[in-house]
Structure formats: C-alpha cells, structure tokens
Amino acid sequence: MVEGAAPTAKPGINDTATPRPACLQPSSHKPISKRPQAYLRAPHSHSSSRTGNEIRGSRARALPDRALVNCQYSSATFSTGERKRRPHGDRKSCEMGLQLRQTFEAAILTQLHPRSQIDIYVQVLQADGGTYAACVNAATLAVLDAGIPMRDFVCACSAGFVDGTALADLSHVEEAAGGPQLALALLPASGQIALLEMDARLHEDHLEQVLEAAARASRDVHTVLDRVVRQHVQEASVLLGD
C-alpha cells in the first residue's frame, strides 16, 4: 500500500502556548488486490477498512427495495497502550458497528442495489483518540473506491471542550482527561449530520460552539479526502486509459 499525501495542518481551535500536535494525513492507496480498501492515517489513529460488496448476501435478511449495510468494527489487540484481550464481540465494538451502519445507511444510495448486502469491515490498528472519526473516514474512502454510490462524502471528526475553548480532533490523552467529547459525522455539502454522539457533561450554552468546531474540522477533512480521491482517480485512469 502506497502512502503519499501532503500533510495538512488541521486548525486546532486552541492555539495556546503548547501547540497541539494536530495534523491529519490520510493516505492514498493503490489497491493491490481487486478488493476496495482504504488505509487512513489520522493523528496517531490508524484504521484500515475494507468493503465487501456481495451481491448475494444472506437471503433471509435481504430487503426487497434496498441494500443491506453491514458494518463490523474491530480493534487490534495492539491498538491501545495496554494489550486488549477482547478485540471484538464486546459491547463497545457492537455499538461502534451499529453506529457505523447507521451512518452509512443514511449516506449510501441503497435504493440502487436492491436485495444485496454491502459489508464494511473496519479495523483499528492504532488508537490514539478519535477512533470513530477515523473509522468513518476510512470507510468513506473504501466505499468510494468500491464504486458504491453515496450521497456525499461522510466526514467525521471529534471535538471537545476544555477551559472555555472548543477543541477539534481530540487525542487519547485529551479524551482520557475526562472532559466532554463529541463525535460528529457530517455530509459536508448539505451540512447534514449523519451521526452525533456526545459523552460527559457539557453545559448547554457551549454546545453550539463545540458543534461548530467539529463541523469545521469535518469540512477540512473533506477537502483532504476529496483531493486524495481525485488524485487516485487520476492515477488510475492514467494506468487504465489510453
């Protein structure tokens, strides 16, 4: 897998004395095999995702008018600081899978693939905060690479609130500090929120600020993803075309 994309400095809203190590580098990918996959390297959170597009999914659950979206989330045992003993099957992984599924069911044009099943497998290789966001971004790239039609890019980012300022894209240390964290998945063109999830206490008055920070960061992610996809398409067409 080839990684190559110019790093972009993502504006952390908080530019205090110690600048936050914030830069998002999604890597472009050249699929070696025919299976569409994407590898996303976010600030210390790496996740890889693969889309399996099986036209004949489980017949019992097939829907007559739309495609079924199935998402599986698993994190590698070496992904966190301490070795995790149960990488999948526990409640948190199930929940992540459900949330991813919800996000993509809203974004993929499922009416165009009736009676089929779209599988999205996401594996977190290194987790340093913002795992949900990294998973969503990686899955977007994989779905795009598979050629499955979507309404728009789904870009996600996490945000938090510390000392009166909203922070975008929290790292593990910032998440573990216990402050409020917000994960937002956005369709950038329309500004619609596909998934919104928040933890820990945040006063209502600050909600708008944090939402705005997350939305802005998601749009920045979108510009990077857009550029990467176009570059990849250009390269692929050069190889295939002529």
């Binding site: 409640r91 929940e95 459900l98 919104l196 928040m198 206490r201 006063h203 209502e204 939305a215």
Partner: protein, 440 residues
C-alpha cells in the same frame, strides 16, 4: 414471535395525524405521558411507569477488589434487560441490536457523566471497593424505553442505601443493617434522557414517542441532561439527517422537560422518605390502591364533525341502492315462525345422515347449491321451485322430533339445529319427490 408488521393504512394514518400535529393519545408535540414512580420495601427498588411503559430498577452492592488501573474508585455496573413479557417480539435470541444500543446509551449517560462519586465508594484503596450494580428490567414496552429506564436507574440509585463501613487501621468493619443505619450513595446530579422522534425526514418531531409512533419514525435523538442544564449525552440514531439548529432546539426543549421530571422525582423520593420515617406502610403492595374499580377509559377527544352530513350525503348518493329483501314470515305452529332460509352451509357437507339419499342427494345438492348461490335474498320464494334448500347438519345435536298438529308426525332422520327444525317440514316434500324418483 416476529413483530407483527404495521399495515400501510395505519402507517399513513399516523404520519398524516402527525403532520396535522395530532397524536393518538391526545398529547401535544412536547408533552410527556404520565410518569408514576413507586418504591419497593427494600432500599434501591423502584418501578417507573411512563404511560404504559414500565421499568423495574434494582440496585445492589457488593465489596470487591477494584480494577487495576483505577485502584481508588468503586465500580458501577449497569444492566438493562428486555424481559420477554414486555413485548411479544422480545425473545431471548433476537434482541441483540436494541439491547446493545440501550445498554450502551445508559452506560454512557450514567457512568461517563459521573453522576455518582465513585471515589466515595472506595473502602480500602487497592483492595476493597464497593461495586454498585443497577439492574433494570423492562416489564412492558409501550415506546420510549430509554427515558423510562434512565429515570428508573437514577431513582433507584437515589433511593438506595448501602451498608455502613468503618476502617480502623487495618481493620474493616462492615455493619449490618441492624447495627447501623445504611448510608445513601453520594450523587452529584441526576441525568435524565429525553427522546425526540423525527418524522418525514426531520420535518416533524415528537417528544416521548409511543410504541406506534416509534414504528413509523425515521430516527431518534436522545439528549440526556440534568437540571443544571448540562448535557450529559447526545445520541442520534436511526439514520436521520439532522441540522445543527434542530439539535440546538431539541436541547432547549430537553432542558425544560428535565427540570419538570427532576421535580417529580424529588417529590416521590421525599414522599417515600416521609412514609418510612413515620412508620407507615410502604412498598409495592401499598402503592397499588385497593378497592378501586379499574376501568379502561380514554379521554374524550374533540372531533370536528361539521362536514359529516355533507360527506355522508355524498356517499349515500354515490352508492348503489341496496337490494330488495322481501320478508315473508311463515308460521309453522303457534310460537314457531320462520323468516327466510338462512345462508347455505359454506362448510360443505358435514354429515350425510340419509344414507339412502347419498347417491342421488349428491347431484341434487350440487344443483341446489348453484341455484341458491345466485339469489341469496330471495330464497323463501324459491322454495317451491328449487329442489331442496340446504340444511345445516350438526352432528352433535340429537335427533329432533317435531310434533305438528296438522301433519303426520314422522321421524325426521336429519339432525337439525333447534332453530332450524322447521326446515324439516320443508324437507318433506323433497323426500317425497326423491322417493318418487327412486321408485321410478
């Protein structure tokens, strides 16, 4: 068993009603159903009823060794179970998605928001801490499980008393309930979940959806807040697309609702406290009023009937006129009359009681069936022209002997229902005809 699918008519009806800002139970868009909180005899046991949705919450505690990375904090464990009695669709193997979602939401709402001071649950750092376990059981599902469950959890936690512990040097003494009064948990704040259901791609929203409304909704947004207007959790589910101002508006509504519900909870807790102190009776048995006539009553809902007459006239004028029915009562004996012949027996021939007629009766009956089917309304007048009307034969009835003063009493072999015994009289001419044929 699988969930019964909702019919299209019902779905359309509900959506249309929601568009006109009407709900089936007469509530307004932002109204909650009635919340009723009752406590059990033990501390930490409560039942919350949100309309017809019932959740039972029970808190228990145990001394355990703490987690390795959090040696000075107690452990909180939440478990929500969807009991099979809550809805026919809840079966042991089938519920996993919903269960995971609800459990995770509750955990995040109550644990991550740090509503309970876990440091105070520590007895001996690194060795013994309290593990508080909250078990919630859904007893009846009528929509909005998450709100009811969150209320039940927080009420049960507020109500709970744990045994007192004292540490002297190396010695830890755990007092029983008789030795020392149990101690309440230290609760910082009470997070309560408020659910918003979205319809028609986010155009309409309802607070506290009932089960029917949940079936037709596009998606759900759950906001957990406490009365200090701090948001503890936000979770959007169901694949709806939200806009930022919708979320902000919902959070404002949630703030108002949470304040009301928190007041209710405080009042309920105070009442229970008072009753226990005064030595009165408490518990679930007491909270159910005796000597009360329970009736299923719905509030009257005003319906607009101003244009009913016009509509009715339209329908009547466009409809076909009903078919003519001529009723000719036939008096068999004083006290026994017959009007009409009844419809034919659509069960087919249950029992052939007349063995002799079996061969010929079959063809006769076949002809008769067609004839009778053509004009169901004019059977009486056709008695003479047709061969025989169909007689209901009920094999369980005993044989009936009809004594008629003006006719020869003949043993009628067909077993007829008492209401139709007069038909035996009409069968006689048939028999005679058949026998004539047999003779010929």
């Amino acid at each position: 068993m699988k969930e019964t699918p909702m019919s299209n008519c019902e779905r359309r009806f509900l959506l249309r009603a929601i568009e006109e800002k009407k709900r089936l139970d007469g509530r307004q868009t932002y109204d909650y159903r009635n919340i009723k909180i009752s406590f059990g005899t033990d501390y930490g046991c409560c039942i919350v009823e949100l309309g017809k949705t019932r959740v039972l919450g029970q808190v228990s505690c145990e001394l355990v060794s703490p987690k390795l990375n959090r040696a000075t904090e107690g452990i909180l464990f939440f478990n929500l179970e969807l009991s099979q009695m809550a809805a026919p669709a809840f079966e042991p193997g089938r519920q996993s998605d919903l269960l995971v979602k609800l459990n995770r939401l509750l955990e995040r709402c109550l644990r991550n928001s740090k509503c309970i001071d876990t440091e105070s649950l520590c007895v001996v750092a690194g060795e013994k801490v309290w593990q508080i376990r909250v078990d919630l059981h859904l007893l009846n599902h009528d929509g909005n499980i998450i709100d009811a469950a969150s209320i039940a959890a927080i009420v049960a936690l507020c109500h709970f008393r744990r045994p007192d512990v004292s540490v002297q040097g190396d010695e830890v003494t755990l007092y029983t309930l008789e030795e020392r009064d149990p101690v309440p948990l230290s609760i910082h704040h009470m997070p309560i979940c408020v659910s918003f259901a979205f319809f028609q791609q986010g155009t309409y929203l309802l607070v506290d959806p009932s089960e029917r409304e949940e079936r037709v909704m596009d998606g759900l947004l759950v906001i957990a807040m406490n009365k200090h207007r701090e948001i503890c959790t936000i979770q959007s589910s169901g694949g709806i697309m939200l806009l930022k101002d919708q979320v902000l508006r919902c959070s404002k509504i949630a703030g108002v609702k949470v304040v009301e519900i928190t007041e209710l909870i405080q009042k309920a807790l105070e009442n229970d406290q008072k009753v226990r102190k005064e030595g009165g009776k408490f518990g679930f048995a007491e909270s159910m009023a005796n000597q009360r006539i329970t009736a299923f009553k719905m509030e009257k809902a005003p319906i607009d009937t101003s244009d009913v007459e016009e509509k009715a006239e339209e329908i009547i004028s466009e409809a076909e006129p009903p078919s003519e029915v001529v009723s000719k009562p036939v008096l068999w004996t004083p006290g026994t009359a017959q009007i009409g012949e009844g419809i034919e027996n659509s069960w087919g021939h249950l029992e052939d009681s007349e063995k002799e007629d079996e061969d010929e009766g079959g063809s006769d009956e076949a002809v008769i069936l067609d004839g009778v089917k053509m004009d169901p309304g004019v059977e009486v007048s056709n008695i003479g022209s047709q061969d025989a009307p169909i007689v209901l034969s009920d094999s369980e009835e005993e044989e009936m002997i009809i004594l008629e003063p003006d006719k020869n009493p003949k043993k009628i072999r067909t077993q007829t229902v008492s209401a139709a015994q007069v038909r035996a009289a009409s069968k006689k001419p048939v028999k005679r005809r058949r026998k004539k044929r047999a003779a010929n």
